[in-house]
């Protein structure tokens, strides 16, 4: 699993995300986003699991990453369902295909943290370095 660190930003929340592979980067970015959205407060059985298929395309890798996170953000804010586990995930320059398990948001297990208005394009660049892939996400909160 890759890693993420929060970086200072005057108005909003910015997170530096790193992953060994593109798949790792996308999975870590999703985890980072849910860390902004919620804080776990108790271990309780997961309620009402279901599968969500995500199939998105884009002109660039940045578009694909944003589309992936947008799907998960909408699932949370539109349907009240949060990411539980990624079952399968494949990513290339122009598409993401995934099957994820989502569960009902349980207020007894989690507290709301920040409300993310949107995943922004601000400075969004997915880059390959010597140790893998990296990007900085800016969430409008």
């Amino acid at each position: 699993m890759g890693k993420f660190t929060f970086v200072p930003h005057t108005a909003d929340v910015a997170v530096r995300v790193e992953g060994a592979s593109l798949k790792d980067l996308f999975a870590t970015a999703a985890k980072a986003m849910f860390t902004v959205l919620v804080t776990k407060k108790a271990n309780r059985p997961v309620a009402d699991l279901s599968e969500l298929k995500v199939e998105k395309t884009g002109d660039t890798l940045e578009d694909v990453l944003k589309a992936w996170l947008d799907e998960l953000l909408f699932e949370f804010q539109g349907n009240g369902r949060m990411l539980h586990r990624i079952k399968s995930l494949s990513v290339d320059e122009n598409a993401v295909s995934a099957c994820v398990l989502v569960c009902a948001f349980d207020r007894a297990s989690y507290d709301f943290n920040d409300e993310i208005k949107a995943v922004t394009y601000h400075g969004l660049k997915v880059e390959k370095g010597r140790r893998g892939w990296q990007t900085t996400l800016v969430f409008d909160v």
């Binding site: 929060f6 970086v7 200072p8 930003h9 005057t10 108005a11 909003d12 929340v13 947008d70 909408f74 804010q77 539109g78 349907n79 948001f105 207020r107 507290d111 709301f112 943290n113 920040d114 409300e115 208005k117 949107a118 922004t120 394009y121 601000h122 969004l124 409008d140 909160v141």
Partner: protein, 483 residues
């Protein structure tokens, strides 16, 4: 640190010449004094003022108010007007995610001495009555038919449900509903994200404050607005919630494609835009107006709940308590307006992103009651200092398309707020000032501490001295409710 050119025009205006960057069509002009200018250089907001000057059809200058700080595409505090007949564009980045985020101010007949002994009860009652915080749901229910009506008719929907009076609409910008909204261009996703959020305050910098007028600057205008020293007021700051966020995000995708389609060169994707007259431009404006109307309805519902809480605590109807709406203003919006440019009246798409309309005396769009005074302009500060009521001026009509600032402007990140400030110290500071605070998420309150904002007194002094709004009175908080 931004080290680009800032040429002094006068004590309160600074120019970024269009020669700064190839592609700028007009100069950038920032309203600030020397002190605020130093804050402005700390992030990339000035660069964003220059970037906005690239947009097709922009007239006069890319403007920024003294509460300028970094935003997406446009800076917060950014103002730009595009000539529709000259290929002028509309850019969702010039409005922001929280479409028609705005403020309303109510007066009351209550004096500070009536409220201070009961302020804890009052804030508790407000907290119990007005849903706030992330994930909160409103008590005001709207089915699919109602949602359509809200998108088309804004605050009038709430008034019809009994949540207010006709006089409230008269005291709301655009009478609480801008024409030209089209519910059919709004995505299912936006509807879903906005569901059950009517009458909810939200989180972040949104708030509800009970305040007292602690300084009068203009007795004549204060009399005209029926305000006096020691009088209690209520301020509500909220927007279009998830509904507006999704509409902005949906449109950015469309607008990105327009950059190629209409061969528009911008230095930042978040400035994606389309000609106002193009199908994409029209669609965005139709959806944005639906969100604007949603927000006006939301603030009307919030005011109704606020009045209910006051009625409970003071045992009298809101009418008896004199809880009349002074005015409601949008501070994130794009509007089609007529302004004089180079001696000729032109039809412009005026973007105000973190900026407030401030029409001067005599403007035909103002309600009869404010035709002589100029438009009431409501400027919230932070939870520990002040907020202001100002009035629009003729000079604003001439210099800034009838626009002034919208608030204090952030200077510190949330990250740095957590590392340098403590909740305990903040509560001590507020208690010492006699301010009662209640928040849905105590952990997040520190991110809104007075120290993370510029001093609103400095910001308002600049717009007053520059002549783009006139100070009427200042308020200080007694009770604060945060999401």
């Amino acid at each position: 640190m931004w080290d680009g050119p800032l040429e002094k025009i006068d004590d309160y205006r600074w120019r970024i010449p269009k020669s700064y960057k190839p592609g700028m069509r007009v100069d950038g002009i920032i309203y600030a004094d020397e002190k605020l200018l130093q804050d402005t250089r700390h992030d990339k907001a000035c660069e964003q003022v220059a970037n906005v000057a690239f947009l097709p059809g922009i007239v006069n200058a890319s403007l920024a108010m003294p509460d300028i700080h970094w935003g997406y595409g446009f800076p917060i505090g950014g103002v730009a007007a595009m000539d529709i007949d000259k290929g002028g564009v509309v850019s969702p980045g010039g409005v922001g995610y929280d479409i028609n985020c705005g403020v309303r101010l109510l007066r009351t007949d209550l004096e500070v001495d009536d409220v201070t002994p009961r302020i804890k009860d009052l804030v508790t009652a407000l907290f119990q009555t007005v849903p706030a915080g992330v994930g909160s749901e409103g008590m005001i229910r709207a089915d699919a038919k109602d949602e359509r009506q809200i998108m088309l008719r804004g605050a009038a929907w709430a008034v019809e449900q009994g949540y207010g009076s006709e006089a409230d609409l008269e005291a709301t910008e655009e009478r609480g509903a801008i024409a030209g909204a089209d519910p059919d261009v709004v995505s299912e996703r936006a509807l879903k994200r906005g569901k059950a959020q009517s009458g909810t305050l939200g989180s972040g910098n949104h708030f509800l404050e009970v305040q007292v007028i602690d300084q009068l600057f203009d007795q004549g205008l204060a009399d005209a607005f029926d305000l006096r020293l020691g009088q209690v007021t209520v301020m509500i700051h909220s927007g279009s919630r998830g509904f507006g966020y999704q509409i902005c995000d949906d449109s950015l995708e469309d607008m990105k494609r327009c950059l190629t389609k209409y061969q528009i060169n911008v230095p930042d994707t978040q400035l994606a835009c389309a000609p106002v007259t193009s199908p994409e431009g029209k669609n965005y404006l139709a959806a944005m107006r639906a969100a604007a109307n949603y927000a006006w309805n939301n603030r009307q519902c919030l005011m109704h709940l606020t009045r209910t809480a006051f009625e409970r605590v003071f045992g009298a109807s809101w009418q008896k308590l004199g809880m009349r709406l002074i005015y409601d203003v949008a501070h994130n919006i794009a509007k089609i307006e007529k302004h004089v440019v180079d001696g000729r009246e032109r039809t412009l798409c005026v973007h105000r992103k973190g900026a407030t309309r401030a029409f001067g005396p005599g403007h035909p769009d103002l309600p009869e009651a404010y035709r002589a005074t100029g438009q009431p302009v409501i400027i919230p500060g932070d939870m520990g200092r002040n907020s202001y009521l100002l009035a629009g001026t003729q000079r604003a009509m001439e210099e800034t398309f009838g626009t002034t600032c919208h608030g204090a402007g952030r200077v510190k990140s949330r990250h740095s707020a957590h590392s340098s400030l403590s909740f305990h110290d903040l509560m001590k500071e507020l208690t010492a000032k006699g301010i009662v605070l209640m928040a849905a998420n105590r952990g997040k309150v520190i991110e809104e501490a007075p120290q993370v904002y510029k001093d609103v007194n400095d910001v308002v002094r600049v717009v007053h001295e520059a002549g783009i709004a006139r100070r009427v009175c200042r308020m200080r908080p007694l009770g604060v409710m945060k999401g």
